[in-house]
């Protein structure tokens, strides 16, 4: 333990930690714009500078290690003046259109300007011509609002291993951009949206289809139906000021009906359906020696990632569509014909924790005969905005059930929302399919938690099944490279693009706090613990769907509606 003095108060610190982390523990908040908790300090924004006795200049607390007896002033006039000037410099050529900005109420820069008492424009600037990048189906990039903190660049490179964006040019001409400064759509961007999640300003935002959805809801010719993903019900509450980790599935159903959707379905239903198909596919591959390990395919950013960077592994990816797309296909085929509705009248929307789902829904493979399975995708954040716009008092709604028949779910389907959940659900069903007995206990503890890479060996009959779970695409790279080098021998691998899984998806309420993630995850595990049905193969509606329509897993109809294929993408890397 080290003792140091901050603002004339004695505080304790650990050897080797940074001043910033010691201050945080002591309840002293020093602002940052470029700091990412899980990565090495970058030292770019200089907002965290503090006065350290004996040092000539101000010291960046995010990167400077503590030493015994250090005397620090965190909010001295000199430090405050420096911080204020830095924010003023950022504002000098920042657009003044906060009123029109997507991040108006969640902008870190705006909050800092207020905190530091910036009340007049001290520095003029020369206008710079920036072009907004609207090319991506998921993300809109407005370089004019970019403050070059570099967080998106580092997340994309260090956490996601994609490196779709980097700094271009020098000095005040520096911008963040793609290779050759082309549109995001032709870059290696996988649309995961982690950059949007971490961006402190409105430079990176999701591409919204809310207007289109509102129009469809108002159109008497169209029948708007909606599905919500497993991870949405455990995060939406945060948008309405409730504490993280609450499951509001019932209220969510009610709110969606208030918005005007004719039917409200639960994507966890099709997650169960996915498990039936995927577990069968795994069993089939194991029996026939098909390409192993098999990879999950429900995370669309991951699918694009492997298409771009590891095309030689494409055969290893499960051919199952994601739950969103499966339900979309079932709605427009089974549900439409069963209820005598012209599928062309159905406007099928999904609420997802994800920006890549927008891209997935727009893939040509997902629109057989040119008719998309899913018409529009909105994120948790966009849904909250729609609820607010329609004047719905979220907190006073009474919970309601989702609609029959795609409202019934097992808790296995719900587990899809967290890293490791798909694997756990699949193992439960694969065990049953291969042995006729339930996995006991159903909980696979080794696959739970926020670690980036988790592995387990599960005994199914005579076979030891080796599985791995990774979240964050840099971790996926690690696994793929290990498989390629022969270091890992695996049967089944679950990959989620976002670190922590869908609960940390790019479309979720803005957060960078691991405690919040843990609360969201705990909510999913709690749902599983209390659930009467914990396995996908016990979902009666899924069973009925097979009976009445699909036939059997991997059957002809399944193949036509629920499976897809992938192709190598040659993008600028």
């Amino acid at each position: 333990m080290i003792t140091l003095h901050a603002n004339n108060r004695t505080i304790q610190a650990q050897e080797g930690e940074t001043i910033l982390s010691a201050l945080k523990r002591a309840g002293i908040s020093v602002p940052t714009l470029c700091h990412i908790e899980s990565l090495l300090p970058d030292g770019a924004c200089r907002l965290c500078v503090v006065e350290v006795e004996g040092q000539r200049g101000l010291i960046p607390s995010c990167s400077y290690p503590v030493s015994d007896g250090m005397k620090i002033q965190t909010h001295s006039p000199r430090a405050l003046r420096a911080r204020k000037t830095i924010v003023e410099l950022l504002l000098a050529n920042h657009p003044d259109d906060c009123m029109y900005c997507h991040r108006n109420d969640s902008c870190r820069l705006r909050a800092l300007a207020a905190e530091l008492g910036v009340q007049q424009r001290r520095f003029g600037s020369t206008p710079v011509d920036h072009k907004i990048d609207l090319s991506s189906p998921s993300i809109i990039r407005d370089p004019a609002k970019c403050i070059l903190c570099g967080k998106c660049v580092r997340v994309c490179e260090e956490i996601q291993g994609v490196s779709a964006i980097n700094f271009i040019n020098r000095g005040s001409k520096t911008v963040v951009g793609t290779a050759f400064n082309e549109g995001l759509n032709v870059s290696s961007c996988v649309n995961c949206g982690q950059c949007v999640m971490i961006c402190p300003t409105g430079a990176l935002v999701e591409r919204s289809q809310a207007e289109e959805i509102r129009a469809a809801l108002a159109d008497p010719e169209r029948i708007a139906v909606i599905q919500h993903a497993p991870a949405v019900s455990v995060t939406l509450a945060e948008e309405f000021g409730l504490k993280p980790g609450q499951d509001v599935a019932g209220i969510l159903n009610a709110a969606l009906r208030r918005l005007g959707f004719k039917r409200v379905f639960d994507t966890s239903f099709s997650a169960d359906l996915t498990i039936m198909e995927e577990a069968s596919e795994l069993a089939h591959r194991i029996r026939t020696g098909g390409p192993l390990p098999m990879f999950t395919s429900c995370s669309p950013a991951w699918v694009k990632f492997i298409e771009e960077f590891y095309p030689d592994f494409i055969d290893h990816v499960s051919t199952c569509k994601s739950p969103q797309q499966m339900l979309g296909a079932v709605i427009k085929n089974f549900y439409a014909s069963r209820n005598g509705i012209d599928p062309a009248r159905i406007y099928s929307v999904s609420v997802m924790p994800c920006l890549a789902k927008k891209f997935e829904a727009s893939r040509p493979e997902m629109a057989p005969d040119g008719r998309p399975d899913i018409d529009a995708v909105i994120t948790t954040r966009e849904l909250a905005a729609m609820i607010r716009m329609q004047g719905i008092d979220f907190t006073s709604l009474e919970p309601e059930e989702a609609d029959h028949p795609f409202g019934e779910r097992s808790s296995a389907g719900k587990l899809f929302g967290a890293t490791g959940g798909v694997m756990e659900a699949a193992l439960r069903t694969a065990h049953f399919l291969l042995t006729g007995r339930e996995l006991d206990p159903p909980k696979v503890t080794a696959l739970r938690g926020l670690s980036g890479i988790k592995t387990a060996t599960v005994r199914i009959g005579d076979l030891d099944v080796n599985v791995a779970v990774a979240s964050g695409l840099a971790n996926a790279r690690q696994i793929l490279d290990d498989i390629r080098s022969g270091e890992r021998q695996l049967h089944f691998v679950e990959i989620m693009s976002c670190p922590g899984g869908c609960i940390a998806g790019g479309g979720q309420p803005y957060q960078t706090d691991p405690d919040r993630l843990r609360a969201r995850m705990a909510a999913l595990y709690e749902i599983d613990r209390q659930a009467p049905v914990q396995t996908s193969h016990r979902n009666e509606e899924v069973a009925r769907l097979y009976e009445e329509f699909l036939g059997e897993p991997l059957g002809e109809r399944s193949h036509e509606l629920l499976h897809t294929h992938y192709h190598h993408r040659d993008v600028m890397q």
């Binding site: 030292g43 770019a44 200089r46 960046p60 000037t85 950022l90 020098r170 000095g171 520096t174």
Partner: protein, 651 residues
């Protein structure tokens, strides 16, 4: 405030061989030619030397050398033609030296191709012309020419102490043998045979050598820190990314004496325990790169680089890495990123490179001049080295003199030499009888020294007392025709363009500072009311902005970026005030603030100026005096240029 009191010790000049002249027997035995011949104490046939550094080549040395070859062919004159590096007097290039057998080597200035036959004729006939020569090199065994001054008495050379530059312009940089014959590689052989790495470090520590790249960090301490990080791969990097405007010390050393650098690197690598070394050099130095490549190859052939050097178990591979010309890549952490193949952006320190540098391994980064100091230091010992200099700054410093000074070029003086001596004795003062105004030292990161502080000793600490810094060695002299606001603007423009863009104060702040300076120098006629307001607001915040940038920037480049403004504001505040309050540029440089007036007596009404004026700011009727409308004038000066009657004047 002056902490340094000792006076510089005068030292022998150009004639001193690099490392005292003694040559390690192992090296001497392997020389395939006799020592006197290699040192050109004894020449069998005439030798013609052409200064063919980049400065010489720029002045036409290639053609001069060809003219020498043509002359030899046409006149059946058999002579050795040697292309040497720069001796330092760049303003006198192309330089051509002739050494007849038994005679001294005599040096001629401004020898363009057409002058070659006459000069060679004259020397062959022992009829040295009265002028056109620089002088002759003193040598005990060579008969001097009558009536020709010795170079060591020349005011440009006499005050110099040439250790690093000892061989520059003297030897053939493409032959390792010539370097060895002048004592080169002897320090390395001695060290590998009889000194432990720690003893080498101790020697460097005792010498008081400090980093010559600008920071002035004690070299020995840096090495010891890296040495203490035991185990595994370590790296040595030579920083040859010389980027300051007006600085060319590193280039001259590598072009003129590349083996000195390699020997210094080998000693440093041996001391810290590195087996791989990089030379990070700007791609704009093609000749230096070519010379260095050749030198590395020769040193490997001699077994002075490579595996198991001199059976000592010490291995060293030297790799050249070319930089793409980003100024910030001279900053050590940005340089490391660049070698690693990343964008050249600095990262916070600690950890320092000596702990975690290139590829995360302990790394020492030294500047070219620092490393070039090592061979004579190790050969002659710390006591020899630190006998020269001041209390806190030992040895010599190489400077590149440029700007408004008579003798532009490269010099090496003992630490503690006064700035006045450098500019007025070595540099010959400002040309054309103009008044000296200031010298910018340390490039864009440095500061300027006004007339009243010219007697300051050049050493790390003294320079700081006047707001300047040693820097890497660029000296840009300015005279009365230089506007100091314009100078500050020039450097701010350079810095804001070269900022890597990573940290906010440097990226945004330098741009804002530049805009404020631009507003100060912009003419009223071109200004809107809002701009006038912005100008005054800017002036009010200029000093504070400078302070915050200095206080908070990530790397040295940013922390020193406001220096040109801080320094000129300190010494030339009145010039700023003239620009701001009187809207006048006292040095008549800033076009927007110049007022042109047509002398009615002289003006013949030829209408030429009115026709040529791009702003339509000149009115008048033919054959009667014209006049300038100041609100329209953009200050371009075209009217002055075109007037045949000298009727337009700047007031």
């Amino acid at each position: 405030m002056k902490a340094i009191n000792s006076t510089p010790v005068s030292q022998p000049t150009v004639q001193t061989p690099a490392a005292g002249g003694a040559i390690a027997p192992w090296l001497a035995d392997r020389l395939n030619d006799s020592l006197p011949r290699l040192r050109r104490d004894l020449v069998a046939q005439p030798v013609v030397y052409v200064g063919a550094g980049t400065c010489g080549l720029g002045a036409g040395a290639k053609k001069t050398a060809q003219a020498v070859r043509d002359y030899c062919r046409d006149h059946q004159f058999t002579a050795d033609l040697v292309e040497v590096g720069c001796i330092g007097m760049c303003s006198a290039e192309p330089l051509l030296d002739v050494q007849m057998p038994g005679r001294t080597r005599i040096s001629f200035t401004h020898v363009t191709a057409d002058c070659v036959p006459a000069i060679l004729d004259a020397v062959r006939n022992d009829q040295i012309p009265e002028n056109g020569w620089l002088g002759q090199f003193r040598h005990p065994e060579h008969r001097p020419y009558a009536g020709v001054a010795f170079i060591d008495e020349h005011p440009f050379f006499a005050p110099q102490t040439r250790w690093v530059l000892a061989n520059c312009g003297r030897i053939d940089p493409t032959r390792i043998e010539e370097y060895i014959a002048r004592g080169g590689y002897t320090a390395l052989v001695q060290a590998l045979n009889s000194k432990t790495p720690v003893e080498v470090i101790t020697e460097v520590e005792l010498s008081g050598l400090r980093g010559r790249g600008g920071g002035g960090f004690p070299t020995g301490r840096k090495w010891r820190l890296a040495r203490q990080n035991e185990g595994g791969q370590k790296y040595l990097i030579c920083n040859a990314d010389e980027g300051d405007p007006g600085a060319f010390m590193d280039r001259a050393v590598i072009e003129g004496d590349p083996h000195r650098l390699l020997e210094g690197m080998a000693l440093a690598a041996y001391a810290i325990g590195a087996s791989k070394a990089y030379v990070y050099i700007r791609a704009e130095y093609p000749l230096a790169i070519e010379r260095l490549k050749r030198a590395i190859q020769q040193a490997e052939e001699w077994g002075l680089l490579g595996r198991n050097i001199l059976d000592s178990g010490f291995n060293l591979t030297v790799v050249i890495k070319q930089g793409a010309g980003a100024f910030v890549c001279g900053e050590e952490t940005a340089l490391i990123h660049s070698i690693e193949g990343k964008r050249g952006m600095p990262r916070p320190r600690p950890p320092y490179p000596a702990q975690s540098g290139l590829f995360g391994k302990p790394t020492v980064i030294n500047n070219v001049e620092t490393l070039a100091n090592i061979p004579p230091l190790i050969a002659n010992g710390a006591a020899w080295f630190n006998a020269v200099g001041t209390d806190s700054s030992k040895g010599t410093k190489v400077f590149a003199l440029s700007g408004k000074v008579t003798n532009t070029g490269l010099i090496e003086v003992a630490m503690g030499t006064s700035m006045r001596r450098i500019i007025f004795d070595l540099g010959g003062g400002t040309p054309g009888g103009k008044q000296y105004k200031a010298v910018q030292i340390g490039g864009p990161s440095g500061g300027c020294i006004p007339e009243q502080h010219l007697d300051i000793q050049v050493d790390y600490e003294s320079l700081k007392t006047v707001g300047a810094m040693m820097g890497s060695g660029g000296l840009v002299v300015m005279d009365e025709d230089t506007c100091m606001v314009d100078v500050a603007k020039f450097f701010m423009d350079f810095i804001q363009r070269e900022s890597c863009g990573k940290c906010i104060p440097c990226r945004e702040g330098t741009k804002r500072m530049l805009e404020i300076l631009e507003a100060i120098t912009r003419g009223r006629g071109q200004e809107t009311g809002n701009q006038t307001l912005e100008r005054f607001k800017g002036v009010m915040h200029l000093a504070e902005l400078a302070e915050v940038i200095r206080d908070t920037s990530l790397c040295g480049l940013g922390q020193t970026a406001p220096n040109p403004v801080i320094s000129t504001l300190r010494w030339f505040r009145h010039e700023y005030e003239s620009h701001i309050f009187d809207r006048r540029c006292p040095s008549k440089v800033c076009p927007g603030l110049l007022e042109y007036r047509i002398d009615a007596e002289r003006c013949k009404g030829c209408t030429l100026c009115a026709k040529k004026c791009p702003a339509g700011a000149i009115m008048g009727v033919a054959k009667s005096p014209h006049y300038v409308i100041n609100d329209k004038c953009i200050g371009c000066g075209t009217c002055v240029e075109v007037c045949r009657f000298q009727a337009v004047a700047v007031v």
